[in-house]
Every structure is written in structure tokens, then in C-alpha cells.
């Protein structure tokens, strides 16, 4: 009986999730034209951060490979798609895809040697990778170096951002529940045991790395087309750290945790704007407090289910259905 109910509620959860998302998209289409740029701008950055956080979570949280080079992949996606838009004038979505694919390609290229490293060593190697990408961009002629790239068409709308964010989340969640996802989880839990069970760890690790890089590249493309101007400074080490903070705060391995944390961390600095220069102090203090009282992140490795929300609204969790 319990088994049956559980199955039902997951299924039901899916339907509810899908309808809610559909409604949300419809709303966004309706609202996007009328919404003041201030709000749509914040929503846009929020969506981009969700894509970045969820894709980093795939590498750091689900596959358990500690990467610090996410801004590098974002930079590749941003520059490739921006250059395509400027020089070739290909459609926006094609430019985005090319940016994502370029990032994924570099991810595979670099993942193969570096993913043989573990823990701290991998973290340092990926940190170096992010910096290499940034310095290469800084010294290439086509990227205009430190001057930054101007004149990128500002075609990103919140509809695009939110739609791609939703796709990213759906893909990642489905991936987590697939054979690939289970292989990744087993690598995270115990790599040696996973290998002993016949899992090709290198393949799966590189797979996670490339998928994460792909979505980071897409996010970079969206970012470039929302700003209209990108410079290597946008993709420095601090950007990688910002994304990592979101993932850790939401809970390593929890997709919904990443989403909740992104929303909190994007809205928080705006809400604190009234405090002028003390804003970032308050922001940092809140981060420290959260880490002190919830070191496992907001949601730990749990996922927030739609049914949890129903339970909350329909009289706490007492009802045993």
C-alpha cells in the first residue's frame, strides 16, 4: 500500500509540476512585454544563475567532482555566441547552442586529463583551467582583450531565460534518475566501489563535466545577450565562487536546493539595497549564519517536492496518505 501511494504521489507531482511550469511560461510570455526592465532584469539574472547553479550541481553535487572552473565554461559560451551574433548574424538560439557546444567540447578536452585527479587536486586544476580560459580571451584579438566585446545584440528576454532554465532543470532531474545519474551517484558515494561494479568512471565523470559545461555555456550566451557587453572581468575566479556559493548553500546534490538558493541570493542583495554600502556586509553575514546553522545547505541532499508544498498548505505533514 505504502509503495503504491508513493508511486502515485510522484506521478501526481510530475503532472502538477508540468502544469505549474506551463502556467508559469504562459505568464512570463504575457508579462514580459509589460514588466518594468528592473524586474525583468533581475528575473533574467536569476534564471541565468539557476542554469549555472544547476549545471554546477551536476558536476559538484551529483557526480561529486569538485570543480572551480565554471566561469571559464560560461566565458566560452558567452564569447562564442556573442561573436557568432556579431559577425555571422545567425539566429539567437543557434548562437546559444554553438556557445554551449563549444563549452562542452572544451569540457571534454579538459575533462579527460583533469578528471583523473581527485578532491583538492581536481579543484586546483579546474581553478587553473578557468583562469587559462580567461587569460586566453584577454589576449586574443577577436575577443578585443581587456577592452571587452561591445555591440552584442540584446536579444535575451526573460522568456528565453526562464524557458531554458526550466529545460535545464528538467534535463538534470531526469538525468539524475537515469542509468547515467545512478552511475554518477555511485561515483560520488565511492569511486572504487563503483569501478569494482563495472562502471566506466572516466566516461561518466567526463559526461557530467561536459553536460555541466554545455549548460554553463548556454548561460554564458544568455548573459552576453542580456548585457550587450562582455569583458573577461565578468568571468573571473569570483564568478566561479559565486556559483559555488549558491550550490553549497542550496545543498550539494539537491537541484531544488540550488534553485531556492539562487532565488534567495539574487533577491537578497536587491532587497538589501536600502542599506547602501553595508549591503554586502549584511549579505556576507547572512551567508555565514546560514552555513553555521545549516552546514549541509538549505535542503541538504533532499529535493523539494510539489507534494511537500501541498502538505504544508493542507495542514502540516501529519496526514498520512
Amino acid at each position: 500500500m505504502a509503495q503504491q501511494t508513493k508511486k502515485n504521489s510522484t506521478y501526481d507531482g510530475y503532472i502538477a509540476l508540468a502544469s505549474a511550469l506551463l502556467l508559469l511560461i504562459l505568464n512570463l510570455i504575457l508579462v514580459s512585454g509589460k514588466m518594468p526592465a528592473y524586474y525583468s532584469g533581475i528575473l533574467g539574472f536569476m534564471g541565468i544563475n539557476i542554469i549555472l547553479a544547476v549545471s554546477l550541481n551536476l558536476i559538484n553535487g551529483i557526480a561529486g567532482q569538485f570543480s572551480l572552473g565554471h566561469a571559464g565554461f560560461m566565458a566560452i559560451g558567452a564569447y562564442v555566441s556573442a561573436l557568432i551574433s556579431i559577425y555571422l548574424q545567425w539566429p539567437f538560439i543557434v548562437a546559444l547552442l554553438c556557445g554551449g557546444l563549444a563549452a562542452a567540447f572544451i569540457g571534454i578536452l579538459i575533462g579527460l586529463p583533469t578528471l583523473r585527479l581527485k578532491g583538492d587536486y581536481l579543484a586546483i586544476a579546474t581553478l587553473g583551467l578557468g583562469e587559462i580560459i580567461r587569460v586566453v580571451i584577454l589576449n586574443l584579438d577577436i575577443t578585443k582583450g581587456a577592452r571587452g566585446l561591445t555591440g552584442i545584440p540584446r536579444t535575451t528576454t526573460i522568456f528565453w531565460v526562464e524557458a531554458i532554465a526550466i529545460i535545464t532543470v528538467i534535463v538534470t532531474i531526469n538525468l539524475m534518475r537515469s542509468t547515467h545519474g545512478r552511475a554518477l551517484l555511485s561515483i560520488r558515494e565511492d569511486e572504487i566501489a563503483a569501478e569494482a561494479m563495472g562502471i566506466n568512471t572516466t566516461y561518466y565523470k567526463v559526461f557530467a563535466f561536459a553536460t555541466g559545461a554545455f549548460f554553463a555555456g548556454i548561460a554564458g550566451g544568455l548573459f552576453a545577450h542580456i548585457m550587450g557587453y562582455i569583458a573577461p572581468k565578468n568571468f573571473d575566479f569570483m564568478r566561479s565562487i559565486e556559483i559555488l556559493v549558491i550550490v553549497v548553500l542550496g545543498g550539494l546534490g539537491s537541484i531544488t536546493g540550488s534553485i531556492v538558493a539562487t532565488i534567495v541570493l539574487t533577491v537578497l542583495p536587491e532587497a538589501l539595497r536600502g542599506f547602501a554600502q553595508y549591503r554586502m556586509v549584511l549579505y556576507s553575514a547572512m551567508l555565514i549564519m546560514m552555513m553555521l546553522f545549516r552546514p549541509q545547505g538549505l535542503l541538504g541532499t533532499r529535493e523539494l517536492k510539489v507534494s511537500d508544498v501541498f502538505k504544508f498548505f493542507s495542514g502540516g505533514g501529519e496526514r498520512d496518505d
Binding site: 503532472i15 518594468p36 528592473y38 548585457m227 510539489v306 498548505f313
Partner: protein, 388 residues
């Protein structure tokens, strides 16, 4: 129960949407009521982060100007100026959000800032799109004013400084050979170096050595040895003061006794603190000199020290002038219409501020004198004020 859950989810999303809609409308109607006799002007600058020294100085300078204007009765027959100050941390995405907020939510008629070139590039786009003028006190990047018709600046641009220094080296100092040592990871440094080389060569000089370094380098001996081998009469180093101090010390240690020249990146007490006697006799271009005995400069310095208990850097008088320029333009526009204000800014001529007398060229860059300063007996000293 399951069906109910689904309904709850859909209703929740609908309610959320309604709430969001209302939030927008409520926000709009609130704005309409607070118009009174107040002119809202925005300020965007890095009050925190790496460039905070410039951002805070710029903010202080703008506040002094606006307090003065308000104390003298405001503008347009009794309108008081309200300065809405926003911190962008020197970040471009933050700047985008703030620009939207100031224009859409706060309904400012014009904006002072951003302070640095990167954020100004982003702001320029939005200013043009929404037709709200921005006046940057200190963004020196060559291209920014050509990005949109709604961007003006009160500082001179990078190549202008290189041009002035090239002319100064060739004509005033009468030198024939020059070496250049610049930061090739920095837009500002590259702009100055190019313009210097071009002007110096046009005026009959020869650039005997062109050496580059990267941001964060500490050891310049390799480049300086190359320069020493060519024995130039002057060395142009368009970089920031921390690099400049190191370069000067290492150059003197290698026995290079050429005259060192630089741009406004040199203008910091830290240069003298770091380089000591090695800085003696160097020349650099800058926006104003605190040693200038003119009444405007001295009055500003007294006011600044009184109010903020510290010495201003060049961002403060430039932001002061930016605020003066805006107030003057609003007065001449005769009404609070952003497009008319922007036209009035463009037509400004002969406005006298702390950093000189302003008019604007067709790209809304100021035409004003550049200050050339030197280091003498461990102190900055004013050499000359030149027009191109």
C-alpha cells in the same frame, strides 16, 4: 486529495502572478505622487570593491556640488535636487540592474556615473535606449561616448592624454627618442600608449622601444633592460601608481636616467610613498592639480576637507563638475525633460568648473585643458595647463 493538490498548485501560481502584477502597478502609482518640487538625479559608482577609492570620492564630490546648488535655492525656480546614490561594486551586471531601477522605478531625469569604463559601456546602451542622459565623471575609455547619444563625460579620454603627453615630450621637453612600457592587459594603458606613439612620431620623434607587461607583474627588469640598451631620452609608462612605483625603482636601479612620463594613473600619493626619490622629475598628465592656486580649486579643496576630513583624489572634482554640468543643463533646458536636458548638455559652452572650462566636441567629450604635473622635493607640483 490528489486532485485537490493539483488545483492548489495551479491556484497558487495564478495568485502569485496576480500578486506580481499588483506589485508593479502599486509601484507605479506610488511614484507618481512623490513629484513635488524635487528633481531626481541618480548616481552610480563603486562604493565597495576594488575601485571604491574613486567611487567614494566621486560620490562625495557630487554631494558637495548638489548641496551647494540646493543651498543657493535649487534650480528651475525652487526645484531641489535629490541625489539617489547607488553602489554598483564596479560590476557590469549590477550596473544594468541599477540603471533600470533608477530610470524605471525612481524616474530620475539624468544620472551621474558610472565611474569606471566597463560599467559605463553597459549603462551607455540603456541610456540611449531609454533616452536618459548619463554623465560619467571619470570613465576615460575612448569609445564610450560614441556608443550612444546620451553619454557625456567630464574627464578627458585615454588617447587625448597620450596625445598631450606625446606633444609635451616632443615640443616642451624637446626630446627625440622615447621608449614605451605599457600594460597589455589593460585597455586604458594600451589607449594611452598608442596615442603617445602616434603623436610623438608625427612631431618628429622616434619610438626606439615598445615593451609590454601584464597586470600583476612585479618584476620589470627584462623589459627595462631592453629599454636601457636603446638609451631613450624619455620613457612613457601609462600604468597605475602601484606598477609605476615598482617600475621607477627598478629602472633607477638599472641606471636608466631618462625622464619618465605617465598619465592620470600616476596621480596618487602612493606613487611618491612607493617610489621615493626615484619619482623626482617625472611628468604626468592629470585632471587637476591641488597645487593649482585658482580660487575654484582651493575653495573646493577646503570644502571637501571640511566635510569629509580627507584629501580628495581626482574623481571628486570631476564628479563635482559633472553635477554642475547637469544642473546647468537642466536650468537651460527649462523643464524636466530628459531629451531636452541631453541636448542642453551637448550645447554647454564655457561652463567653468574645478577641473577647467568646459565645452564639448561632437562626440560629447569635453574640450578643456589638461594639467601636467611633476614630482618635486617629494611633492606633486603643477607644471602647466595645456590645450591641444
Amino acid at each position: 486529495m490528489k486532485k485537490k493538490g493539483l488545483v492548489v498548485a495551479i491556484v497558487a501560481v495564478l495568485v502569485l502572478t496576480v500578486v506580481v502584477y499588483f506589485a508593479f502597478f502599486a509601484g507605479k502609482s506610488k511614484q507618481a505622487n512623490t513629484n513635488g518640487k524635487v528633481v531626481k538625479i541618480g548616481f552610480i559608482g563603486p562604493l565597495t570593491g576594488g575601485a571604491a577609492a574613486y567611487g567614494i570620492n566621486a560620490k562625495n564630490g557630487a554631494v558637495i556640488a548638489i548641496d551647494e546648488i540646493n543651498a543657493a535655492g535649487g534650480i528651475l525656480d525652487g526645484y531641489k535636487i535629490e541625489l539617489l546614490i547607488q553602489d554598483n561594486r564596479g560590476d557590469t551586471s549590477e550596473t544594468l540592474t541599477i540603471m533600470n531601477k533608477l530610470i524605471d522605478q525612481d524616474k530620475v531625469v539624468a544620472i551621474i556615473g558610472p565611474v569606471t569604463t566597463g560599467p559605463t559601456t553597459v549603462a551607455a546602451d540603456i541610456a540611449g535606449q531609454k533616452k536618459v542622459p548619463i554623465v560619467s565623471p571619470t570613465a576615460t575609455g575612448d569609445k564610450i561616448t560614441s556608443l550612444s547619444d546620451y553619454v557625456t563625460r567630464v574627464c578627458f579620454y585615454d588617447s587625448y592624454q597620450g596625445l598631450i603627453m606625446g606633444k609635451f615630450a616632443a615640443d616642451n621637453l624637446g626630446k627625440k627618442t622615447a621608449a614605451i612600457l605599457f600594460d597589455n592587459t589593460n585597455d586604458y594603458s594600451m589607449g594611452l600608449a598608442d596615442a603617445f606613439a602616434r603623436t610623438f612620431q608625427e612631431l618628429g620623434g622616434t619610438v626606439v622601444s615598445n615593451e609590454a607587461f601584464s597586470e600583476g607583474d612585479q618584476d620589470f627588469n627584462a623589459q627595462l633592460t631592453n629599454i636601457a640598451a636603446k638609451n631613450p631620452e624619455v620613457v612613457f609608462v601609462p600604468a597605475y601608481y602601484s606598477d609605476d612605483a615598482q617600475i621607477l625603482l627598478q629602472a633607477r636601479a638599472l641606471g636608466i636616467d631618462a625622464i619618465f612620463l605617465g598619465g592620470d594613473g600616476w596621480d596618487s600619493q602612493e606613487l611618491i610613498n612607493g617610489a621615493g626619490v626615484a619619482a623626482e622629475g617625472c611628468y604626468f598628465t592629470t585632471h587637476y592639480s591641488p597645487e593649482d592656486t585658482s580660487e575654484k580649486v582651493q575653495n573646493f579643496l577646503i570644502k571637501y576637507k571640511e566635510k569629509h576630513q580627507s584629501e580628495p583624489n581626482f574623481a571628486a572634482p570631476l564628479a563635482y563638475d559633472a553635477a554642475l554640468l547637469l544642473a546647468d543643463a537642466i536650468e537651460r533646458a527649462g523643464e524636466l525633460d530628459s531629451v531636452k536636458i541631453n541636448n542642453a548638455i551637448t550645447e554647454t559652452s564655457g561652463l567653468s568648473g574645478v577641473t577647467g572650462e568646459f565645452s564639448f566636441d561632437e562626440n560629447r567629450n569635453p574640450i578643456k585643458e589638461v594639467t601636467i604635473a611633476t614630482v618635486k622635493d617629494g611633492k606633486f607640483a603643477l607644471v602647466d595647463k595645456v590645450r591641444p
